[in-house]
């Protein structure tokens, strides 16, 4: 009996670690085969992919720059996913947050407000924009049982076109640019880099703390967790499902919106059509991938987002230094997720 117990305590941890290790090894194996087939040096490619982030200050800064928005879009997917709904709209919510923050910043520019006023104002408008935009999907699900996958995908198009609309609006457009880009935000509406690291990292850390407290310590978090565990029991004991749906989308969207505002205020300083992308693909998709890696557990999000960014930086380096297409890295990232999902299922389906 005692022996059995020990196994049970050790079991889940070892099993979880081995799931990740096996999945990553398998994905890297496939990656290596493809790299070899294309005639590149496998070892150099693997080394570049995994170590670029740590070999130079620049590599590390780049990694953090990608990690921050990724954390936000990962939460955008993860929190509704706790109650088994797919928010595919993290990207759209991020775009809305960034765009509305820009509109507020540019509109208030003539007033010459100080940073202490302007920065919080932009952040709040980003949060509200992302949250309310996601709430549309939550509301449609709660009231009319419309699948959030469909509504959030559709709303992504709305958001992308809204960015274009603002970035080409005569009031905001930068007349010197051919591409849809607005004039820059006033300096007091932007956030600085500190030692090459965007100061938006502070808000990312705050968001991590916020999510942790929300899920682990509050009544609302308990209700979300309970619905995720067993909807019927949660309802039987008085938890309001419709409210929980709307709240999870609201929170997820708010975080994505905050991420969007921060992206504009630190990285770009103005609204650019096609922001919220990395290595040519949008952060929403990477957020979903990252969330699936941690199986929708909000506590694992920051680490997973960082590791994902390491691979993204590595991918850029591969393209630059070895002319290996980034798509090959995307492919192995997707494979990591697939392998994890499959291996995890294999471990757990054993009744």
């Amino acid at each position: 009996m005692a022996e059995k117990k020990d196994k049970k305590v050790l079991g889940p941890f070892l099993r979880n670690i081995s799931v990740y290790l096996i999945a990553i090894l398998l994905a890297f194996a496939v990656f290596s085969v493809l790299v070899a087939l294309m005639g590149f040096d496998i070892f150099r490619a693997l080394r570049t992919l995994t170590t670029t982030s740590f070999k130079s200050a620049f590599g590390f800064q780049e990694t953090i720059k990608k990690t921050i928005p990724l954390i936000f879009t990962t939460y955008a997917f993860t929190i509704p996913f706790m109650i088994k709904f797919f928010n595919i709209g993290g990207w759209g919510q991020m775009l809305m947050g960034g765009t509305v923050a820009t509109v507020v910043g540019l509109s208030l520019a003539p007033l010459n407000l100080p940073a202490v006023v302007l920065v919080p104002l932009l952040l709040i408008s980003g949060i509200l924009a992302g949250g309310l935009f996601a709430l549309i999907a939550g509301y449609l699900k709660a009231k009319y049982d419309i699948n959030p996958i469909i509504s959030t995908i559709m709303l992504n198009f709305v958001a992308a076109l809204f960015v274009n609309f603002i970035a080409t609006a005569p009031r905001f457009k930068d007349p010197l640019e051919g591409h849809p880009i607005t004039i820059p935000l006033p300096k007091s509406a932007t956030l600085p880099f500190i030692g090459g690291i965007p100061s938006s990292i502070i808000f990312a850390i705050l968001a991590i703390i916020f999510v942790y407290i929300l899920i682990k310590k509050t009544r609302l978090g308990y209700e979300i967790t309970a619905v995720g565990y067993n909807l019927f029991a949660a309802q039987t004991y008085g938890i309001n499902f419709a409210k929980t749906i709307m709240v999870t989308f609201l929170i997820g969207g708010s975080l994505a919106g905050l991420g969007g505002a921060l992206e504009i205020m630190t990285i770009h300083g103005k609204l650019i059509e096609g922001f919220a992308k990395t290595s040519g693909a949008q952060y929403g998709i990477f957020g979903i991938l990252t969330s699936l890696i941690v199986a929708g557990d909000p506590i694992g999000v920051p680490i997973a987002a960082f590791l994902m960014s390491v691979l993204l930086v590595g991918a850029d380096a591969l393209q630059r230094t070895m002319q290996i297409p980034v798509e090959l890295v995307f492919l192995s990232q997707a494979l990591i997720v697939l392998f994890i999902v499959v291996i995890r299922k294999k471990f757990s389906v054993r009744r």
Partner: protein, 510 residues
């Protein structure tokens, strides 16, 4: 009548977890008869037939078909052996037509379905039984009675010589039942054997050549048609063959004499719940439950007892009528508000509605109490220290066998899970407990423990509404028993009037 045995089950035993669903059952059916299989919910009827059909595997026992022993590992085997089953709930593909459904999976060796050719044959088969149904309409659009006919034809098309019908009348109106009867008689003439599972005595009397009665997983007896009577069947269904307390598998718990409260704790006045396809709802139900009283509710499952339980904690489902707790109406209140009036609930399906399987014992104890001031800090944060303290007390007071309260509740046994659910109900002193089948599927010592807890609450002056599928249990521990049939309260018996026969008869609408 042909006396040759078609199918025989010998010493079949099936155990689910801690519960023996079938105790070494012997059961045989002659070729070409309609055999009733009668019993209450949970008597083991469906389990026995699911074993014959290959959906369950017996833990012990043999199956013989026409004298030869056979191994049935899945419905695939049983279909090959000529056994067909029509389940209570339609198993047809809604988007397929009758012909497509009937042919589904049949010509295993061909790539194409000879739909045209076969639909003529299917039409003929149906007509021979007096069935008429559209062959080329999606079954989604057909009523339940028609779907059942399609399922019967499907079984025959696959070559069934034995047809098992599981509660076939659940969704039929009287005329459809009569029609079904006629068709079954025609089938029998062609040499097909029929097993008819039901809990309705009248149907057995109308339809069957003989009947086997099951009770608590044991065969109570088999009667030929000439010996069947309402009285004899009720007796077999609800009473022990001989009263042997030791074998009856019922706990011995005394119900002490105590004073009831003067005012009722709960008043239910003319409540109505909308009927639907699945339920008769509730029609004009009124009763009171006093402090220091256990009010039992007896019914055959699916007669509105589920809605009664639900209405008590979720009064918003009421169409009309009042529920009054301690003198205050709770109409329209959400569940947590009802709980705040001193009410708590333990649901019928403990896994599906009762627990958060992956949640810890702590998280499970909190469920339903999560809005209470004592478990909150500044109204927003959960006081997990307090939750832990309370959970540890539940584990101790209710003898939950677990190393600690952090463990996921799904790792506990059924009995221990139920103890947590019951313990959760008494985290606070409560005035009124609504509990639905709290003992179902539990071993006798756990049942006894739960009985003792109910008596304890009653002794403290609490009121208990106890909806239970097991009449024997109700009779041991209730002060009064109300009987619900088709959504109506058919009668209330005082303890000195308890009579198994009378209550049983009311339960089945007799």
């Amino acid at each position: 009548m042909n006396k040759e045995i078609f199918v025989e089950l010998r010493n079949v035993r099936k155990v689910f977890g801690e519960v023996v669903a079938l105790h070494d059952v012997n059961f045989s059916v002659r070729k070409g008869e309609i055999r009733g299989l009668l019993g209450e919910n949970g008597a083991g009827k469906s389990t026995l037939m699911n074993i014959l059909y290959g959906l369950y595997r017996p833990d012990k026992g043999q199956i013989f078909i026409e004298g030869k022993e056979v191994k049935i590992r899945s419905p695939f085997d049983s279909i090959k052996l000529g056994i067909g089953m029509v389940h209570q709930v339609s198993t047809l593909v809604p988007e397929f037509t009758a012909v497509e459904n009937i042919m589904l999976g049949t010509p295993e060796d061909k790539l194409t379905l000879p739909l045209k050719k076969e639909s003529k044959r299917i039409k003929k088969m149906a007509e021979d039984l007096g069935f008429e149904f559209p062959l080329n309409v999606k079954v989604r659009e057909l009523p339940a009675g028609v779907k059942q006919k399609i399922e019967i034809v499907r079984a025959l098309y696959r070559g069934a010589k034995l047809l098992i019908l599981d509660e076939p009348t659940t969704s039929l109106v009287e005329a459809e039942f009569q029609q079904l009867l006629k068709s079954l008689k025609m089938l029998v003439k062609k040499g097909v054997t029929v097993i008819f599972i039901t809990h309705k005595i009248r149907e057995v009397m109308d339809a069957c050549d003989s009947v086997t009665v099951l009770r608590r997983g044991k065969v109570q007896g088999t009667l030929e048609r000439e010996k069947m009577s309402k009285e004899s069947l009720v007796k077999l269904m609800f009473m022990e063959k001989e009263i042997k307390v030791n074998e009856s598998a019922l706990p011995k718990v005394e119900l002490p004499e105590i004073e009831k409260s003067k005012e009722p704790v709960c008043v239910v006045k003319n409540i109505e719940v909308e009927a639907s396809e699945k339920t008769p709802g509730l029609k004009n139900v009124s009763f009171e439950v006093y402090g220091g009283e256990i009010f039992g509710v007896a019914s055959v499952s699916g007669n509105g007892e589920k809605e009664l339980a639900e209405a008590m904690i979720k009064p918003s489902i009421l169409k009309s009528g009042d529920i009054i707790i301690n003198g205050e109406s709770v109409n329209g209140l959400p569940t947590l508000k009802v709980f705040s009036k001193g009410v708590f609930y333990t649901p019928e399906d403990r896994i599906k509605e009762g627990i958060l399987p992956d949640g810890s014992i702590k998280e499970n104890v909190l469920l339903g109490h999560h809005a209470e001031e004592r478990f909150l800090k500044r109204n927003v944060f959960i006081d997990w220290e307090e939750v832990k303290k309370v959970s540890e007390r539940v584990v101790k007071d209710y003898n939950v066998f677990t190393p600690n309260v952090e463990i996921a509740i799904r790792k506990l046994s059924g009995g221990n899970i139920q103890k947590v659910i019951i313990g959760r109900a008494f985290v606070n002193p409560i005035d009124f407990l609504v509990t639905h089948n709290p003992t179902s599927g539990l071993d006798i010592s756990t049942v006894e423990f739960i009985f003792e807890k109910l008596v304890e609450i009653r002794s403290k002056g609490g009121a208990i509404l106890w909806i239970n599928e097991d009449l024997d249990e109700l009779m041991i521990l209730s002060d009064r028993i109300g009987v619900i049939h088709k959504g109506e309260l058919k009668g209330i018996f005082n303890r000195d009037e308890f009579d198994k026969y009378k209550i049983g008869l009311l339960m089945i609408g007799g």
